[in-house]
Structures are given as structure tokens and as C-alpha cells.
Symmetry: C2
Subunit: 361 residues, 2 copies
Amino acid sequence: MARKIYFTPGPSALYFTVEEHLKQALKEQVMEVNHRSKQAAAYYQHAVENLKSLMNIPEGYHVFFLSSATEIWERQIQNLVVDKSYHFCNGAFSNRFYEFSKSLGKQALKSESKFGTIPEVNPDNIPKDTELISFALNETSTGVTFPVEEIYKVRKSHPEAIIAIDGVSAFPVIDIDFAQIDSAYFSVQKCFGLPAGLGVWIVNNRCIEKALKKEADGHSIGTYQTLPNLLKNGSKFQTTYTINVLNIYLLMKVTTDMLNKGIDMIRRESTYKGLLLQKLVTDHPSFNHFVADEKLRSKTVIVANTSTPSQEWIDELTSKGFVVGNGYGDYKGKQIRIASFPTHSKELIELLYDTINGMKL
Amino acid sequence: MARKIYFTPGPSALYFTVEEHLKQALKEQVMEVNHRSKQAAAYYQHAVENLKSLMNIPEGYHVFFLSSATEIWERQIQNLVVDKSYHFCNGAFSNRFYEFSKSLGKQALKSESKFGTIPEVNPDNIPKDTELISFALNETSTGVTFPVEEIYKVRKSHPEAIIAIDGVSAFPVIDIDFAQIDSAYFSVQKCFGLPAGLGVWIVNNRCIEKALKKEADGHSIGTYQTLPNLLKNGSKFQTTYTINVLNIYLLMKVTTDMLNKGIDMIRRESTYKGLLLQKLVTDHPSFNHFVADEKLRSKTVIVANTSTPSQEWIDELTSKGFVVGNGYGDYKGKQIRIASFPTHSKELIELLYDTINGMKL
């Protein structure tokens, strides 16, 4: 099998230093130590400190490790919602979180838009007693970024609600003011360039208090993944179950590399790479933009409608060694999705740009 | 850091072929492919076929991948219990499953024994309408094996109940007749010698039907980890979320190695190694058996009470390059626990035997 470069929107290309870190992990016997050992706790602590520094997470916020962002949807409803959640839905993933809330018997409401756009943000439509309001900062399925100002507007109008942010393919590239949100989460196989198998959940003390109150009021908040239990273990830099310690180690290593590079540099490069790929979609005769509104176009997941079946583009690019993503769900066969994550260098994105520019199908 | 050999009862020493497989995984870009790709599905299918063959799992049983055995405790209650569960509790882990059931609001009953023993198995004490009855085939915290005949006796007396088996540090070493149980689960960082981060859940069609009935009767069975959803995805050899694909790949590889060695050979060697370590505990002037009843002594996790603080033994052995486990919970400082898993060769166990035999503290 010839080696390929993955531009799929997660799992994607590994961060370029992962292979070396994996070899070091074997030397340090990271996969053999107990998840409650001092060695594993040191990885946990260091990874958390790095994330706080990289994403400018203020005091009073906690970072917990779970199995996936999917799990975190469920844990948020279990811990943070007694009755009512409200979801801004504009893609497969934001809709799925809404479905989770309904499955768990909550009164879930949504403001929905056509894929490729965002719903109108009218705070008056959100009931005053809503407990949790969710946004996908970057909809991986559609390549739409939710402008943070719209989120801050809702925070202002609903200061009592928990503001929950899906940062899956956004963090750490897209900057957000954590003081204006309460719960945020991501999985590591997107912008962090790690193997899948770890979800990261960031919550403030309001979330902890909400879970404690829900429990005190006689409602179940779950078993081992309750916020009080995550906090109890997390304060010792321990997880709530025998977790993928290797991934915490790799996250520690890759965030160290990112800090050394500098988050500003990573973000500037992301803007450049994103604009280049958007230009590709604008200029290429076979493509047009799925996301019509320029200011909603994601820097990290670029989506093009293809005038011929997208599988042909995918196959042809794969034969050249570049793997890009297909359209998601109903858009399969009609779109390509290209990830531009921190591991994808400017040079690599330029090479992809030139390659696709020279193709006619 | 000098390289050590882990005899801890999980996470433990990696299966001796894992390092090579990890290098191959990098070549095959296992950590970069989509979890729903044909490549990942092929790993899933092959791993399942290997497990069925290795553990003699009959037709009508399904194998699903989740994040941990801890998660599977929770999913079993959510999917399989409306009101009543019954737990044979004789250690930290069997008790924890009972606690999970109570946390989720069920009427959980238990038959409890002192650690180091098993509870009396009197089927008449189990209410006739019990929905799920649980046993730990090997209590990792105490080194006690639950004789399978006792389990089969309960199956016979309660044919309507789901018989649920914690096989965490037992499978594939301890043989069980799957036709006499319904749900079984383990995590891969014990006898399979893999990095932590994957739980394996084996269920028969009775479990699927029970979950469907629970749901049809208007009870929530969860969100993405419901048995119908696991089955829907699993029938395409796909998982229900972006899972640790690397671990499924490694499980496929290690089970292939185990099949090549032969399960009979692995079990014979386990018997020999277990007896040798038990003899060590019997003969050594500083040790005595925590598990008094010889026929309850585990082959895979050997527990010795130490006449001097166990930390001294652990430190001294660590300085010689051998890492053994401490006592669990209240027994910390009073016991050592030694894992004898398939990756620990006869020669290695003999070396450990000789080393400890020559020590006086």
C-alpha cells in the first residue's frame, strides 16, 4: 500500500510529530503503566496545563478526559439538564446532540437551518428557563463556522443557561472567549492530529454546581461519568476509568509541540490555508461553494459541491496519494470535504491546491 | 528510565508482539483511516472472527466494541434491566457493578462475601423475576475465580434471567460455555496485553430482544450505545462512535498470534504458571494465601498477604526490574498481586519465582 496523505476531516493525518512520540511512548512504557500511577497522572496534569495555555482557558475551568465527543453529548444531558435544552442545528453533528437530548426524555427544542448556513439567532425564541444552549463552533459535516459574536449575544440574553460548545473540528484553531461559555468539548482526531479514542471536556464551576444541584434534587446524573466524580478523580489528575493513557501522553506531547510553535502562528497559517482552499473552490470550474456566505466558511473543513460525482474526484486524488473526504450523509457523492488542520503544512496545502487546480474531470 | 517488566494485574506488560504490530500500524496508516472505512471494517470483522474462534463463541452471539468494561457495566443496566438485578459480590469490581445498578435507580440485590472468598450460591435467594444476574469470573481485586459450575447452576434455576459475566482478567484464559451465559465483557489491557482504551461486549440474541422490548415498553435504553444501535452498526462491522481503531487493529493482530499459538497451549501454560506462583505463596516464609480455598485461586491474578509492608516488596522488586501490583483498596500495603497473563512466558514467571524465592525482607 503506497503511503497516502489524509486530508479527511477526521480521523485525518497524524500530527507530524506523532510517530516519534509513539516510539518514545514505547520506550517509556506508557502503555503498560497503571492509569492511576504517578507517571500517568503526570501526563494528565501536563496535558491539561498545555491545553489551558494553548486555548487560553481561564481559572475556574476543569479539563476532563472521556472516550469521545459523542460520549460527551450524552454526559452533558445527564449532568446538566433536568428538563430543557435548546440546540442551534445546522448539520449532522449539531442535530445529533439534539437527538441525544430527546432520547434521554428531555424537552429539547431546536432552531434549525438548511445545511451550509446557520439558523437565525433570535434570543427571544429561546425559553427563559432553558438549562443548556448548544452551538457547533465548526460543523464538520457542512464546513460552517458559527460566528462567536452570535454565541456571545445568546450568553448575554440567557445568563442563567449553560452555553455548550462543540469544538470538535474547531479547537485550538478557532479562538473563543471561554469566559462567555460554560461547557466545551472536542475529540483529538481532528485538529490535534491524534489517533481516535479520546474526548476532552472542559467545564466551569457553574457546570459542577448544576450537576450537584440536579443530584441533590433527586435526579440521577449517571454512574462513573458524573461531573462530581470526574472532578474528584481529575483533582488527582486521574481518570474515572482505565482510559487510553497513550492518547493522553500523545496529547501532552503534541500540545507541547503546538505551544513551541505558538498558537498565533498556527492560527495565522490556518487562515492562509483556509483562504487558499476557499479560493480553489471559487475559481475551479468544476466546483462551487456549499457555504454561500463567505463569513460562515470554515477555515478547517472546506466543502465544495462538485459538478461531476464526487467519488470520481476522490478516486483520482487518492491515486495521486491525497485522500479527501466525501460529502456527509445526503451529500455523499455530491461534495468533497477537505480538512486543513494544523498538521497540514502550508506547503502541503499549496501542493494540494496546485494538484486539484490542474485536474479536470 | 531502565526498562521494566510489568506483572501488574492490568494495565500490564504488552503482549510480546505489540511493538511490531504498532510499527506495522504506522505503515498501514491505521490511525489515519476513517472508522467507517472498508479498511477499518476489515479490522473489526477479523478481530471478531478471531475472538469467536479463540473463545469458542457460538452462533447467535454478537461482539461489540465500546470504550471500557466500566462503560459496559452501565450499558448493561441501561439496555437489559427495567427493575431488578442481582449481583454476586466478592471484590471491588463485582461490587462496583452492583453500585452502578443502584445509581441508575434499579432494585439491585446482592449476595456478598468476604473478599478472598465467594458468596454462597443459593438460587432460592434470587427472586424469580430478576432480570440480570452477574458474576465476576475472575475478581481482579482479590484473585478469586468463580467456579463455572456455580454459574451454570444459577442459569438452570433462572432460565429467564440474563446471565452476565465479567471476564475482565479471565478471558481468554478461563474457559466458559457461552451457551450457558448471555452477556460477557472484558477490557483488552489484561490477558490480551493491549494498551488500555477498548472494552469488548459479547451478547446473544436474548439480550438484543430484551433491549428491544424494554424500549418498546417505553423505557429509555440510552442514546448511541443501545444494543439495537450497536447491532445496526456492528452488522456492517462499524462502531457507534469514532473509536480507538488502533486498538481494534492490535486486537486483531494479537488474537491472530494467539490462534497461531493455540488456545489449548495458552491455557496449559497458564495453569502451569498459576500453580508455580501459588506454590511460591505457599512456600515463602513471608507470604500467605489471601484466597484460602485452593480451588478458588485464580490462575491469572495471584494474591499474597505479606508479613511486612507490601510496599517494601514492591520497591525491592521494582529495583530489580519487576513491577508487581499492590493490594487493592483496603488491602493496599498488605498484599502483592501478581499477574500471570498470556504475554508472561513460562521462563519469565520462573525467573520471577526464583527472584522472589531468594528475597527476604
